[in-house]
C-alpha cells in the first residue's frame, strides 16, 4: 500500500462497477441505486435510494429497531428504569455498550443505566403469553427502585404473540400513581433499521413525558438540544460551552438527560437539532405543539461549534448574549487552533471514509476538513433521503411497506402550553437576515465532486472500497473495525469513538485532532511484513559478523 497508489487518481465509475460486479443481478440493481457518484448539477442534488430494506445475506452494518429505541434513544437517560420484555439477549446486548455517559443529575442522583432489566421470557411465556410476567416484573422493579418512570420495550416475539404491553403499562402506572410507566412497540423486525426505533422512542417520549413537567423554567436563553447522545462525554462538552455562553439547555434528547428535563422541554425557546436523522420530527412536533422554532446545529468541529453558537445567539437577538458568545469563542478557539496547526502538517492530504449511523458521517467531515483531510467516500447506515439530499425532498418521499407501520404522531397546538416564541414578523426578519429554520441540506451537498456516497454500506463493499481506494482512515462501527484493520488501514469507530472522546465542541476537536494524528501516523501499519517476507531470498550462507 504505497503512497503512490494512494494518491493516484481513481475513477468513481470504475469503482462503483467493481463494487457491484460480483453481486447477483437483483442485488446489483438495488445496490446501484444506493451508491451514488457525487456530481455537480445545477441546483439539484443527485438522488439516492435510502431507508430501504437490507438485503438478506448481505452482511450489513445495520442494527434493529429495538437497538434504535432502547439502545440509542432511551439508553442515555439516567433516571428512567428501562425494562426489556423479551428473551434475555436483547437486554444483555444493550447493557452499557453504548458509552453514553451520565452525570446522574436526576432529583435523587438516580442512575439506572448500569442496570439491565429483563423479563427473560421463557418458552412458556411465548406459548401462554407474557403479560402477567411483565406486570410482575414491573412491580418488582418498582418495589426495588421506586423510580419516577419505568419504560417497557418489546422485542421480536412480543408483537408476534400479541402481548399488549401498553395496556400492562397503563395498568401499572395507574396502580403506582407516582410512577409513569409507558411502553415501546419496538420489535426488532419493524422498519428497516435503527431509524424506526428512534422514531418509536421519540414518539413515546413526546407523548408520555414532554410537557408533563411541573417545574417552571425561568432561565434566560432556553434551548433544547436534540439528537445528542453524550457518547464519550460529547454532551458534557457542549453543555460546558453553552453554560459558559449563558445559554440554558433545558433538555438534551437524550444524552445525559433526566425524566424531568424531557418533561419540561416544552418550555424551551429554541430547539437545536444535532442528529437530523434521529430526531428531526420531534423538532417539528415541538414547534407545532408548543411553538418552539428549530434550527440545525453542529458541534462537531471547532469552526462548526463557533458557527452554531453564533446561530443560537442570532436567534435570541440579545446583544449581551452575542457578546458573551463572541468572548467564549475568542477564548476557546485560539488554543484549538494551536493544536490544529501542530497536527496539520501530519494529516494534510490524507484521505478518509466515513460510514456511520446518523449525522456523524456528515458532521465529522468538518473535523477532517480542519485537519486538511479529504473525505473520499461517505454514507449513512440508517438515514433517509433527506439526510443525503436535504429536507426539500421530504414532501416527495414515498412511504413504503416497511415505513408505513412506524407511527407518525399528528400533533396540534397544545391548548394550554402552546405559545409562539417569536411573532411571524420576527421570524420573517430572522430568516431574511439569514437564519435558516427547519433547514438541513444533507450530506451530498457538502461532499466533493466524484466522491462516492453510499447508503447502507456493507462488509463486502467496505472491503472492496478499501482495497481499491486505500484510504488513510476508515470510520465505521465495531463490527467493521477489525476486518478493515486486517487490511492494514486504521479504522476509527465513530459510534463509540473507540473509548475516546469527547469529540464535540472545542475540547473535543482537540481530542479528535490528536486521535486522528495517532491513527494516520501510527507506526503499526509498517509492521505487516516480516523481514523475511520483504527479502525472502535465502543466501547460500549466513554472513557472520
Amino acid at each position: 500500500m504505497g503512497k503512490a497508489q494512494r494518491t493516484k487518481q481513481w475513477d468513481p465509475v470504475q469503482v462503483k462497477e467493481q463494487l457491484l460486479a460480483k453481486y447477483p443481478a437483483k442485488v446489483a440493481r438495488k445496490r446501484a441505486k444506493q451508491i451514488l457518484i457525487n456530481e455537480a448539477r445545477e441546483n439539484t442534488t443527485p438522488e439516492i435510494t435510502a431507508n430501504v430494506r437490507t438485503i438478506p445475506g448481505i452482511i450489513t452494518m445495520r442494527g434493529c429497531t429495538y437497538a434504535g429505541c432502547k439502545g440509542v434513544i432511551l439508553g442515555p437517560t439516567s433516571d428512567i428504569v428501562n425494562l426489556v420484555h423479551g428473551p434475555i439477549g436483547c437486554s444483555f446486548y444493550a447493557w452499557l455498550t453504548r458509552r453514553n455517559q451520565t452525570s446522574a443529575s436526576g432529583e435523587h442522583g438516580e442512575n439506572f443505566m448500569t442496570y439491565a432489566l429483563s423479563t427473560d421470557m421463557q418458552e412458556s411465556d411465548i406459548i401462554f403469553g407474557g403479560e402477567k410476567k411483565l406486570a410482575a416484573a414491573i412491580q418488582e422493579a418498582y418495589d426495588l427502585f421506586h423510580p419516577k418512570s419505568i419504560a417497557v420495550f418489546a422485542t421480536c416475539p412480543v408483537g408476534l404473540i400479541g402481548d399488549d404491553i401498553h395496556a400492562v403499562a397503563r395498568t401499572m402506572k395507574e396502580k403506582f400513581g407516582d410512577c409513569n410507566v409507558f411502553a415501546f412497540s419496538c420489535e426488532g423486525y419493524k422498519g428497516v433499521s435503527q431509524s424506526a426505533g428512534h422514531h418509536i422512542a421519540n414518539n413515546q417520549i413526546f407523548r408520555h413525558v414532554v410537557g408533563t413537567g411541573k417545574k417552571q423554567r425561568s432561565e434566560q436563553f432556553r434551548i433544547n438540544l436534540l439528537g445528542e447522545y453524550n457518547i464519550g462525554g460529547d454532551g458534557f462538552e457542549i453543555d460546558r460551552i453553552l453554560t459558559k455562553c449563558g445559554i440554558t439547555n433545558i433538555a438534551t434528547f437524550s444524552g445525559n438527560s433526566t425524566y424531568d428535563q424531557f418533561a419540561t422541554a416544552n418550555q424551551a425557546d429554541l430547539s437545536c437539532v444535532m442528529c437530523h436523522r434521529s430526531i428531526n420530527y420531534v423538532a417539528d412536533m415541538l414547534e407545532t405543539k408548543y411553538g418552539i422554532p428549530w434550527i440545525k446545529v453542529n458541534f462537531i468541529g471547532a469552526a462548526a461549534t463557533a458557527k452554531s453558537l453564533r446561530k443560537i445567539g442570532d436567534y435570541f437577538q440579545d446583544a449581551e448574549l452575542s457578546a458573551r458568545i463572541e468572548s467564549v469563542v475568542a477564548e476557546e478557539l485560539p488554543s484549538v487552533e494551536v493544536q490544529r496547526q501542530q497536527v496539520l502538517p501530519r494529516t494534510t492530504g490524507k484521505t478518509a471514509m466515513l460510514f456511520v449511523g446518523g449525522s456523524r458521517a456528515h458532521h465529522y467531515q468538518e473535523l477532517f476538513k480542519e485537519l486538511g483531510m479529504k473525505t473520499i467516500s461517505a454514507g449513512y447506515e440508517f438515514a433517509h433521503r433527506d439526510d443525503y439530499e436535504g429536507r426539500h425532498v421530504i414532501p416527495g418521499l414515498k412511504v413504503d411497506a416497511d415505513s408505513r407501520n412506524i407511527e407518525e404522531i399528528e400533533v396540534q397546538p397544545d391548548p394550554h402550553l402552546y405559545h409562539p416564541r417569536k411573532s411571524p414578523e420576527q421570524l420573517a426578519q430572522l430568516q431574511q437576515d439569514g437564519m435558516a429554520f427547519k433547514e438541513y441540506d444533507g450530506l451530498i451537498a457538502d461532499m466533493d465532486e466524484r466522491t462516492l456516497v453510499i447508503d447502507d454500506l456493507n462488509q463486502y463493499e467496505a472491503e472492496k472500497l478499501v482495497e481499491l481506494l486505500k484510504p488513510d482512515l476508515f470510520c465505521a462501527g465495531i463490527k467493521e473495525k477489525y476486518s478493515i484493520q486486517k487490511l492494514g488501514v486504521p479504522m476509527k469507530q465513530l459510534h463509540s469513538y473507540d473509548s475516546g472522546g469527547p469529540y464535540a465542541g472545542f475540547h473535543g476537536a482537540v481530542n479528535f485532532y490528536r486521535e486522528i494524528d495517532r491513527l494516520v501516523n501510527s507506526r503499526v501499519w509498517g509492521y505487516l511484513k516480516a523481514p523475511w517476507q520483504e527479502h525472502p531470498e535465502l543466501s547460500a550462507t549466513y554472513v557472520w559478523e
Binding site: 429495538y66 439477549g89 447493557w95 452499557l96 442512575n111 429483563s118 406486570a135 426495588l144 423486525y189
Partner: protein, 457 residues
C-alpha cells in the same frame, strides 16, 4: 457508587431478571460456527440479533466476526422467513463463497415456526447451494437456555453431519466447549503430546486470534473442516469437555454413529486437567510424556509457592456452568473458598455439582443456576469476599465493593490478551494462578500501611 440502587436486603424475584449472567442462544451458535473452516454463520431473524452478536463477539475477541442475517422485515415476521433465508443463501454463496453456511434460528424465527430443514431442502432444490457446499442448521430459540445452550446446539448440529458406518479413522473426537481460541490450541497441543490423533470441533484457534498481515480473509485457513467433522462418525470415541457445551453432541455421535463418548469437565485447573490427560493416555495406550509431567509439576509447584496467599480467601464467581464447575474445583484445590457462584444458564444439576465440589471443605457455598449478577452483588454485600472472578460486567460490582477482579469468562470487553493465552491445561493453570495472585497482591500492596509495605512477598 455505580450500582447504588442495589440493596443489601435480598428479595426473591419471580419475573424480573436484573443484570443477567447469561445471554441468548444465537450468539453461542454463532461462536461455535466460527470454529468450522470456511463457514459463514447466519442468523435467521431480525438483523439486530446478528448485529448484536457480531458486536459482542468482536468486542471480546478483537477480531472481525463475519456473519450474515436474514434481515426479517415485518412482512417476513408475519408470513415466514423462508424467502429471506433462501435469498440470503443465494447471496452468501455468490458474494462471500464460503464452504459452509451455519444457520441458527432466533426467537423471532422460532416463534413464527420457520423450519430450517424444510427451507434448506427448498434452497437445494432451487439450486441455491453450489456443489460441495454445506448447510448446517441449529434451532436456537432465545427464550430457552442461554448462549451456552446455543453453542451446544450448534455443536450438536455439527455432530449431526457425522456419517454413520464410515471408515474408521483411528482418531478421537474432542469437543472442547466454549473456550478461547488459545484454549482450543492448547487442547490440541496436549492431545498431540500424549500421542492421540484427534478431531477437534469446533476449533476457533487461528480464526478468532488471527494475525495482522495486511490481508483480510473472511475464512482463514483454520477451523474444523467439514470433511473431518463428517468423518468423526468413524472415530474411536468422543471426549466431550463440559456437560453443558459439549455433551449433547457427543451423545448424538454415540446414538447416531455408535461412537462411544465420555463427558469430562473442562480441563481447567490441576485435577480436571489430570483427568483429561489420564483419559487421553489410557485411550492412546501411551505413557504420559515427560513434557506434560513437567508442566504438571510446575503447576503443583506454583500452587505450593502461592498457597499462603490463596488459603482461605473467599471468591465470588460468575460465568458459564462448565467453566464454573472447573474453576470451583480448582479454587478448592488451591484452598481458596468459593463463596458465591452464579451462572445464568438454568440447570439444577449445576447447583448440585457446585455444592458437591465445595462439600469437602469447611465452607458452604451460595449457588444459583438461573441467577443474575444483581443477586451475586447482593450476596457479596451480605457475605463479603476477597476476590471476584468473572466477566467484564463484574467491574461495576468490584468498583462499588472495592474488590479485586480477575477477568475470566465471556464477555471480556475491557481487557485484551485472553484470546492468546490458554487457561485450560496445566499451562492455563499457571496463568490463572498468576492472575489471581496478581490481583490479590496488587490489592495487598495498595492497602498496605507504609510500615507493612513489603519488597519481598
Amino acid at each position: 457508587m455505580l450500582l447504588k440502587h442495589t440493596p443489601e436486603m435480598i428479595s426473591e424475584r419471580s419475573a424480573l431478571m436484573i443484570n443477567p449472567a447469561k445471554t441468548c442462544q444465537p450468539i453461542g451458535a454463532m461462536y461455535a460456527a466460527l470454529g468450522i473452516k470456511g463457514c459463514l454463520p447466519h442468523s435467521h431473524g431480525s438483523q439486530g440479533c446478528c448485529a448484536y452478536h457480531r458486536s459482542t463477539l468482536t468486542r471480546h475477541y478483537k477480531e472481525p466476526v463475519a456473519a450474515a442475517t436474514s434481515s426479517f422485515t415485518e412482512g417476513a415476521s408475519v408470513f415466514g422467513g423462508q424467502a429471506n433465508l433462501i435469498q440470503a443463501i443465494d447471496n452468501i454463496f455468490t458474494v462471500y463463497e464460503p464452504d459452509v453456511i451455519a444457520v441458527h434460528t432466533t426467537c423471532l424465527s422460532e416463534t413464527i415456526g420457520d423450519d430450517l430443514p424444510q427451507i434448506f431442502d427448498k434452497a437445494i432444490k432451487e439450486n441455491k447451494v453450489p456443489a460441495g457446499k454445506t448447510l448446517i442448521g441449529a434451532s436456537t430459540p432465545s427464550y430457552a437456555g442461554s448462549h451456552v445452550t446455543g453453542f451446544a446446539n450448534m455443536v450438536k448440529a455439527m455432530a449431526a453431519l457425522a456419517q454413520p458406518g464410515g471408515e474408521k479413522t483411528g482418531k478421537v473426537n474432542i469437543i472442547p466447549g466454549w473456550v478461547e481460541p488459545a484454549d482450543m490450541e492448547e487442547v490440541k497441543r496436549i492431545a498431540s503430546l500424549v500421542g492421540v490423533p484427534i478431531t477437534l470441533f469446533p476449533d476457533t484457534s487461528g480464526v478468532l486470534n488471527g494475525p495482522l498481515t495486511g490481508v483480510y480473509s473472511m475464512f482463514p485457513e483454520a477451523g474444523a473442516s467439514i470433511d473431518d467433522i463428517k468423518a468423526s462418525g468413524g472415530a474411536i470415541g468422543t471426549l466431550a469437555l463440559g456437560e453443558w457445551c459439549s455433551a449433547e453432541a457427543a451423545r448424538l455421535l454415540d446414538s447416531r454413529c455408535k461412537v462411544p463418548c465420555s463427558v469430562l469437565d473442562l480441563p481447567i485447573g490441576l485435577q480436571a486437567t489430570d483427568r483429561f490427560v489420564d483419559t487421553l493416555r489410557i485411550i492412546a495406550g501411551q505413557s504420559v510424556p515427560d513434557e506434560i509431567v513437567r508442566e504438571r509439576g510446575r503447576l503443583v509447584d506454583l500452587i505450593s509457592d502461592m498457597h499462603q496467599y490463596f488459603y482461605g480467601r473467599k471468591v465470588a464467581l460468575v460465568g458459564d456452568p462448565d467453566q464454573l464447575i472447573a474453576m470451583t474445583e480448582f479454587l478448592v484445590t488451591i484452598d481458596m473458598v468459593p463463596v458465591h457462584v452464579v451462572t445464568g444458564t438454568p440447570g439444577k444439576k449445576f447447583e448440585k455439582r457446585i455444592t458437591d465440589l465445595v462439600a469437602g471443605t469447611d465452607h458452604t457455598v451460595n449457588v444459583r443456576a438461573a441467577g443474575d449478577m444483581f443477586l451475586l452483588h447482593q450476596w457479596i454485600k451480605n457475605e463479603p469476599v476477597d476476590l471476584i472472578i468473572g466477566n467484564s460486567y463484574c467491574k461495576y460490582i468490584a468498583r462499588d465493593e472495592d474488590l479485586p477482579l480477575v477477568r475470566w469468562g465471556f464477555p471480556i470487553l475491557d481487557r485484551q490478551g485472553h484470546q492468546h493465552f490458554p487457561t485450560v491445561g496445566y499451562i492455563g493453570g499457571l496463568r490463572l494462578l498468576e492472575k489471581i495472585l496478581d490481583a490479590l497482591l496488587d490489592r495487598q500492596d495498595r492497602d498496605a500501611s507504609e510500615a507493612s509495605f513489603e519488597l519481598v512477598l
